[in-house]
Symmetry: C2
């Protein structure tokens, strides 16, 4: 071990090798729930260094955990057992200039999503992925977790936005899949397989991403909605009338609003009415000739006349638009500040949302009376972050964590949905996957894992437990 | 062998088991270039029958080739060696009623694409995949080949449209991945891996597909374009101004137009001018309030004033629209009727199309002077079907087939594109893949193949040669 540490230190230099006593910024995850002490952190600056680190660790059978912005919620970017090596990609952060006519861009894995957004400002192009953690989340991590976010139902998840990849495999071999085309059927879709593989099959070092034309106009409204059933009816109407412009339909609850307003004092809620749910509707178009305001106003008028929409505000400036979005995006932070919580990352077919919420609320109240239920998320693709805080005045969940997770996950599964919609399985949900996942599926995953990482070197016990 | 044939005949009955002497409709591929005599064709009607057939064949180490509509162009749906079993999915053709609010539909693998289109008429929903062979191509085959077609650059390829899958694995085990949500990160993206796996990892029996709202208006124009460089400039302008409405940009050449008009007498060409290239531009919107005609007319006016567009016609009816499309879609049939041909299924980053065409034309003329070059395809995603007919008066390519394929494939590869854009590798392009594909990539594919089909039972020597 000492020998390996010395070799890595020599290879990477003082900036590149962080010894255990200085590891804290990388050791624990964002929720401070996971992360054992590593042998060290390898802050690589090149693909070649990744190869060398993997070869050295491989020879010593030391586990390797790749880490991006460390914003994951399932413990996949930190160690499950002490003495593995964390490979941090954050120093590989070069953004090439975009290919304008092709609409693509080449980036290194450590590029922060927000930096990518910034770098594209004024180019007429954009990378259409948005999520709460975009100020820290890195491209490599977003690929490894197949991130979704709030615009996924229009633009797709990470797997839909990755054209080319460079990946260092377990034995240090480099796969150069840096192609720039959507249509590439020259064999298995390896680029898709790495999306969502949570660092268990290889370490993504570079990517070619698909860009979209920057919209020339936006329409953003914040709506107070009667109830869950109103949300679903409104979403159906928006899909039918909002056509190809609809970019986001993000909801949060009155419970979540209260939590956020209490814990994040600078938040401002601009509506007069308080209702069960709130919806941010955003539409955008690449043409200035589309009467977005007319099209959306008609749907809002319809919602008002049906008693579905109780109150509404339209964003009149980009500042106001950002303020609306913050109400939704600070939901996780608000709840984190409240204290202990249970996160459940569910998806159900969108039309089953009401049924899911009703049944889930019943189940949760049966398990623990008075538990505070805070569902928020992405109405467009049925992705609910169904989070729980303990009943008022209580400080924990009395060891009922797994019972909640299993009940809610099973409910999603029987509805044709997923118990791990966009956060992944990581370390913390393999027990859940073992219970809820078809054994055939689990077996296929184990076989694929083994085929590319025979000695179980890369992120062991993540995604599928051995 | 006789024993197996008897068992399969008993299992499947007289309609379900076709003996070799009656196999002709399944034995040869569409181009009549591939297909050895099978032991028989298993025309299964259920997933259970697929399981039984696989178990029986597995026990006897008999190769299995799944077949859909048999419209593939790379020999993946027919036998490479005699005495394997073809599993035809065409009798598994049940279409469930769509899930309206969720925008999904469950289909069996043998459903013909056109039947699916028909079944959705009047529902307000559509399945957004279109290609020339849609009257015969089946969903299972479209999944196995990760089909693209003419609308892929807006709506995606098959991998972007498949939410859930049921697959029978090599040993007869059934993987039930029939989920209905876009966001499902509960492990590796197996549903994506099967898209484009060409029947080598399992046999797709059912799928849940993502539908889109049926557009409420279309705009279709046929344009005569000065040259390749004009095509690319026009495409860039259309992307920038046509925004999210742009549905197809399909091009064909004057060479191809002549071939099609000569060989398919009922085709009508409505323009006065003949130019090097023609482009079908289609835009569509889910809202009636978008002034598609104004938006597109402005781009066409710009093209005219720049001397890029020489002549144009707008479709004034759905009949006219269909007539425009036929000019493009009959390109393969026209050339097939002309006689022997070489097909190359290339993709390059769209902005490199001119460079590709120039260099490819030079290369081809060096290899065989006077060779007739007929490029057509999908301008939106840079997918060129770069097809060759022999010089006028000559009947073959003098054994130069591989030389053409290697030169053109290499050109695409060094430009960041693909030598197998949407037709796949199949049997006929594994030699090309072995030359052009990174050995690391080939090795990964072999390992994945082995992990799910250890005894190499499913479509052996397809996609990656053993």
């Amino acid at each position: 071990m000492k020998e390996l540490s010395k070799k890595l230190s020599t290879l990477l230099g003082p900036k590149g090798w962080v010894s255990p006593e200085n590891c804290l910024p990388w050791q624990r995850d964002w929720l401070d729930q996971n992360g054992e002490v590593p042998l060290g952190v390898a802050r690589i600056t090149s693909t070649d260094e990744a190869t060398e680190v993997l070869r050295l660790c491989c020879a010593e059978k030391v586990a390797i955990v790749p880490q991006g912005g460390n914003t994951g919620l399932v413990g996949a970017g930190v160690l499950g057992k002490p003495n593995g090596v964390i490979i941090s990609l954050s120093r590989m952060n070069v953004i090439s200039s975009p290919d304008y006519s092709g609409g693509t861009i080449t980036v290194e894995a450590g590029v922060i999503l927000e930096s990518l957004h910034q770098s594209l400002k004024g180019t007429g192009l954009m990378f259409p992925m948005h999520l709460g953690s975009e100020g820290s989340a890195q491209i490599g991590g977003l690929i490894a977790t197949n991130a979704g976010g709030s615009h996924a139902f229009r633009y797709g998840m990470m797997q839909d936005l990755v054209l080319g990849l460079e990946v260092v495999l377990a034995d240090g071999t480099v796969w150069n899949g840096m192609r720039s085309v959507q249509k590439d059927n020259a064999g298995y879709q390896l680029r898709k397989l790495f999306c969502g593989s949570e660092g268990t099959l290889g370490i993504v070092t570079r990517a070619i991403l698909k860009l979209s034309p920057e919209p020339k106009q936006h329409f953003t409204a914040l709506l107070a909605v009667s109830d869950a059933s109103g949300l679903v009816k409104l979403a159906a109407r928006l899909r039918a009338e909002g056509g190809e412009f609809l970019t986001a339909m993000e909801f949060f609850s009155n419970v979540g609003l209260d939590i956020a307003l209490t814990n994040i004092p600078e938040l401002v809620f601009p509506l007069q009415s308080r209702t069960a749910f709130y919806l941010i509707v955003e539409a955008s178009s690449g043409s200035t000739k589309v009467p977005l305001d007319v099209i959306l106003a008609e749907v809002i008028d319809w919602g008002m006349s049906e008693g579905i929409i109780i109150d509404s505000a339209l964003a009149m400036s980009s500042t106001q638009r950002a303020a609306f979005w913050r109400l939704r995006e600070e939901q996780p932070e608000g709840q984190r500040q409240l204290g202990v919580q249970l996160k459940h990352d569910i998806s159900v077919p969108p039309e089953q949302l009401v049924d899911f919420l009703n049944r889930a609320n019943d189940e949760c109240n049966k398990i623990l009376k008075g538990v505070r239920i805070n569902p928020f998320g992405h109405l467009g693709d049925g992705n609910v972050h169904y989070n729980l805080s303990p009943p008022i005045g209580q400080l924990d969940f009395f060891g009922l964590d797994s019972e909640f997770a299993i009940k809610l996950g099973r409910l999603a599964t029987i509805m044709g949905g997923s118990f791990a919609a966009e956060h992944g399985i990581g370390r913390t949900k393999t027990f859940l996957a073992d219970i809820l996942r078809d054994p055939v599926e689990r077996n296929m995953m184990m076989r694929i894992k083994k085929s590319l990482d025979d000695s179980n070197q890369l992120n062991p016990d993540v995604l599928v437990s051995s």
